[in-house]
């Protein structure tokens, strides 16, 4: 959809799926995110990077509804909806969402977390993996399909009597789950408890579980944390295939520059809750403000960043 990113601001020209405007989040006196605005482009991989404590996870928690922002607007435009006056009109009402053409616009700052996932179809993963460790791999993926399955079970009434329509729906859900497990090579472990999987597999399973909700936007909080180089490569492959074959837009927080530079179409850099740079990987690598921010913090990240930037 979008042209390969060579132009420094190519990412900004693409059609946005998510628009964050003047987002501010305060905890008591602490301003974690300060007047932040950015776009996430449809069908692309956008990375949110920045030193520790820059407020990246807070931004994520605001987008996915786990925190209620102090101020600002977060608009999700699904299924081809575009920025336009409809959004301002919706903002003036007290409503949370509205259908526009084939798509819908959602004011995420007004919606609670589970509604964002269910209606706006924004899925997320967590920095510290949150799998249902005592449930099997397959169960994890079936739970992710809860909303449509629950409707198919007639809110349990049809399911309780074992109606065929529900059994068919469940078989379909298993098919979807197995197809995803096949893609990450875990089909053979479908009946193992998720908590018994190796760390790298747990990371990918969590991503796949989020995908089972059928999201239009997938938010990944440090998906490569704790992975070895081989697992990192597998992760890149999975994320690219999600973008290319499922058409899902991705927003990720990541410290691992090899992942960020390799797969991102568009990068946003945060420092102290503010955006300091925004553009293509090529552009970010050469932005002096970014270099200063990374060199300014004495961290092992500096070496990683510097190594990447030297290339």
């Amino acid at each position: 959809m979008a042209a390969p990113a060579i132009d420094p601001n190519a990412g900004l020209d693409a059609e946005p799926i998510l628009r964050v405007e003047h987002l501010t989040m305060r905890f008591g006196g602490l301003v974690a995110v300060n007047d932040l605005s950015f776009d996430v482009a449809r069908g692309q991989i956008t990375a949110l990077i920045g030193p520790n404590g820059a407020g990246k996870t807070t931004v994520f928690n605001c987008i996915t509804g786990f925190y209620k922002p102090s101020s600002g607007r977060i608009v999700l435009m699904s299924d081809g909806a575009l920025p336009g006056p409809a959004i301002d009109a919706l903002t003036d009402t007290s409503m949370r969402s509205r259908r526009v053409g084939d798509g819908g616009i959602y004011l995420l700052e007004r919606m609670p977390d589970s509604e964002i996932a269910a209606q706006a179809r924004v899925a997320r993963t967590f920095q510290n993996i949150r799998l249902f460790t005592g449930m099997t791999v397959l169960e994890n993926l079936i739970v992710a399909q809860h909303n449509w399955l629950n409707r198919a079970s007639g809110y349990s009434l049809l399911g309780l009597v074992g109606a065929k329509s529900f059994r068919d729906a469940e078989a379909r859900a298993v098919e979807i789950a197995v197809a995803w497990l096949d893609r990450i090579g875990l089909k053979g472990r479908a009946d193992d408890p998720a908590g018994a999987l190796p760390y790298g597999d747990q990371r990918r399973l969590e991503i796949v579980r989020a995908m089972c909700t059928g999201p239009v936007l997938l938010c990944l909080d440090e998906p490569a944390a704790g992975l070895n180089p081989r697992e990192s490569a597998e992760l890149n492959e999975l994320l690219l295939s999600i973008r290319d074959s499922n058409g899902t837009s991705l927003l990720l927080i990541e410290h691992d520059m090899s992942v960020v530079m390799e797969i991102s179409d568009h990068i946003i850099v945060l420092e102290y809750g503010k955006k300091i740079s925004d553009g293509t990987p090529e552009y970010i690598k050469n932005d002096p403000k970014v270099i200063a921010a990374y060199l300014g913090v004495e961290d092992e990240e500096v070496d990683d960043a510097a190594a990447e930037l030297d290339q």
């Binding site: 905890f27 996870t57 928690n61 786990f66 925190y67 967590f126």
Partner: protein, 304 residues
């Protein structure tokens, strides 16, 4: 006006007792995040111990001044109740540390059931009443009527204030208090810094029980009746006090205790004595639903 002031005094007296028990709940919750369900029954046990010791002392040394006798009763009851609480922690809670979250709660409920039935078994199910220990009162004329300030009420309020001050000093100024606060913040880190966590937790139980024993002794002075079933309701009310004040906060426990005492007394005086416990439980539910961090507690931010 006189009626109002009278109820205020009665409420503060009752509230002192609740506040003393509430500290035991709040400290244990603060340090190991567990509702010590048996604490109300430890209070009941301490009241029994106080009654028995009081009877022993008065029958052994008949001529002893009542004040001296009460001081002795207080000290002995504190020591023996602390011993019980130490043993309870050692047997029923320590082995469960770091285990399944529900296990300590179930164990505490089991301990509560044990204590109630133990006391019933060894002391019998009937009420045990002793003649009033301290008689007499000040009668203060207030416009239009009199208010009665019983000596025992003064004793209760003063004892509570003095012991709370001493206790506050221990928690704020001594190494033990520092260790306790460190364990509250981060038990693993505290252990790494050389704090004996097990000992600190034991001492927390011991201190909570000692204050419960003060409450038990004062309860005996005030009412002169003890019964094996008297632990549950005061226990819940004291827990309500701890929650209302903000669980984990020591001044909060005292303020909560006084508030619960006042609410209970005023409710009984002006509305319906039958529904006084309903009022206490309703406050508990309402506080937890609408103000879970209480008056002085820290709000707790959900970690994602």
């Amino acid at each position: 006006m006189d009626y109002f002031l009278q109820q205020l005094i009665n409420g503060l007296t009752l509230g002192s007792v609740y506040g003393l028990i509430a500290i035991g709940y709040t400290m244990v919750y603060g340090i190991i995040g567990m509702i010590n369900f048996a604490h109300g029954d430890v209070f009941m046990l301490s009241a029994f111990i106080a009654v028995i010791i009081f009877l022993m002392i008065t029958s052994l040394f008949g001529g002893l001044a009542i004040a001296l006798a009460l001081v002795l009763v207080l000290i002995i009851a504190m020591v023996l109740t602390a011993l019980w609480s130490w043993a309870i922690e050692r047997v029923a809670y320590r082995p469960l540390r770091g285990s399944f979250r529900l296990a300590p709660l179930i164990s505490a409920i089991g301990m509560s059931i044990f204590l109630v039935n133990f006391v019933q078994l060894v002391q019998g199910p009937r009420n045990k009443s002793i003649p009033p220990i301290i008689d007499g009162s000040f009668v203060i004329p207030v416009d239009g009527g009199n208010i009665t300030l019983a000596y025992k009420q003064i004793l209760i309020i003063v004892t509570t204030a003095v012991l709370l001050a001493a206790f506050w000093f221990v928690v704020q100024k001594t190494a033990l208090g520092r260790a306790q606060r460190a364990c509250e913040q981060d038990r693993k880190m505290a252990a790494l810094l050389g704090i004996d966590v097990d000992r600190t937790i034991s001492l927390t139980f011991v201190m909570g029980a000692a204050l419960a024993a003060v409450a038990g002794t004062l309860f005996m002075v005030q009412y002169g009746v003890v019964n094996f079933a008297d632990g549950f309701v005061p226990g819940i009310k004291a827990f309500t006090a701890a929650v209302l004040g903000g669980i984990g906060s020591l001044p909060g426990a005292v303020i909560g205790g006084l508030l619960i005492g006042l609410i209970e007394v005023f409710w009984s005086a002006y509305f319906s004595i039958d529904y006084k416990d309903v009022a206490a439980f309703s406050i508990l539910a309402i506080t937890l639903i609408f103000m879970p961090s209480g008056i002085l507690g820290k709000p707790d931010v959900e970690k994602v």
